[in-house]
Symmetry: C2
């Protein structure tokens, strides 16, 4: 953890910066199962995310059963790789919990940000342990709710297929800082 | 980066897991400025986040000017610590970019998740370099748009005061995994 990390104008690289840079969207997985202990470590990392008012509006479905993963892949507009991952984490937002404290802003903004922060923690923790993930956002929410028998106040916001990577995708392009940063000084 | 990280049932801790666990919401900052190079490293970490269709709907206002920080603190319902940070990053979502590819779902879900993933990367990178951040979500969006003269399609979604921490808050409580994880096997 960082003290004096700028030395002669050069920032010493650390593992966090490397993992952030090396994370990829993984869509092919080895069949090896993910040990229970690693799954718990990843979910604990997810839960360490900040949330508005520490409400923690998240709920995680850890799906291992083949026919449920198949149904999730179908709900994800036929993205078959979803079913091929040894585990799929379906991340949900509890709209009751989110809106109890913050009303409309809790339901339509904070709980989406809080769950996204949890997902990001989970993905970086997974990368750091040699695992691969992919953020799947394109799916029929009603179909996912039906498959997992979710009550109406539990909204599925992402599916994260998870496993040991069977490919090494190249990095995707990024907009330059000059395009996306405005300095007000 | 992880190979054979489970040894005899014990997961070897790594810096990513530690930083995820050690991140705190920092609301008091030393006056020391944040070097330009570190700011760029943090913003590059933010930009390395995944986004739906790699649209990268984010825009970052790096605010240093005192009177603008004061106006942001006022827009944040009087949270004065916002103005006391040496830098405030106002994170915005470009609604045009978000909805061009994905319509309503892009505008109301993906761009909020994508910017939240970018913020999480930025916060973890900051923690790893000894800096402190706080996710500020409670603000009057219209007031922030007015202060920064944002066009209508640029929505401010969070403010991140940033600087060297002047306090060490205790960790906040978390719900147990048994409360927030459902296993489907």
């Amino acid at each position: 953890m960082g003290k004096n990390l700028v030395d002669g104008g050069i920032i010493m690289k650390n593992e966090v910066l490397s993992v952030i840079k090396e994370r990829r969207s993984i869509r092919r997985f080895k069949p090896d199962p993910v040990p229970e202990e690693i799954l718990n470590t990843l979910l604990e990392a997810a839960c360490a995310a900040p949330s508005a008012g520490n409400v923690q509006p998240w709920l995680f479905y850890r799906v291992h059963r083949a026919e449920i993963k198949e149904a999730l892949a179908k709900a994800a507009l036929g993205q078959k790789f979803v079913a091929q991952a040894p585990v799929v984490i379906v991340v949900c937002a509890d709209l009751n919990r989110a809106s109890a404290t913050y009303g409309e802003r809790g339901r339509t903004l904070y709980c989406l940000q809080d769950t996204a922060a949890a997902i990001t923690n989970l993905m970086l923790a997974a990368t750091s342990l040699g695992l691969g993930t992919c953020w799947v956002g394109a799916f029929d929410e009603g179909a996912v709710s039906h498959v997992l028998e979710l009550p109406p106040h539990i909204r599925p916001v992402a599916m994260i297929p998870l496993g040991y990577p069977a490919h090494s995708p190249s990095p995707t392009a990024r907009r330059s800082l000059s395009e996306v940063v405005k300095v007000v000084d």
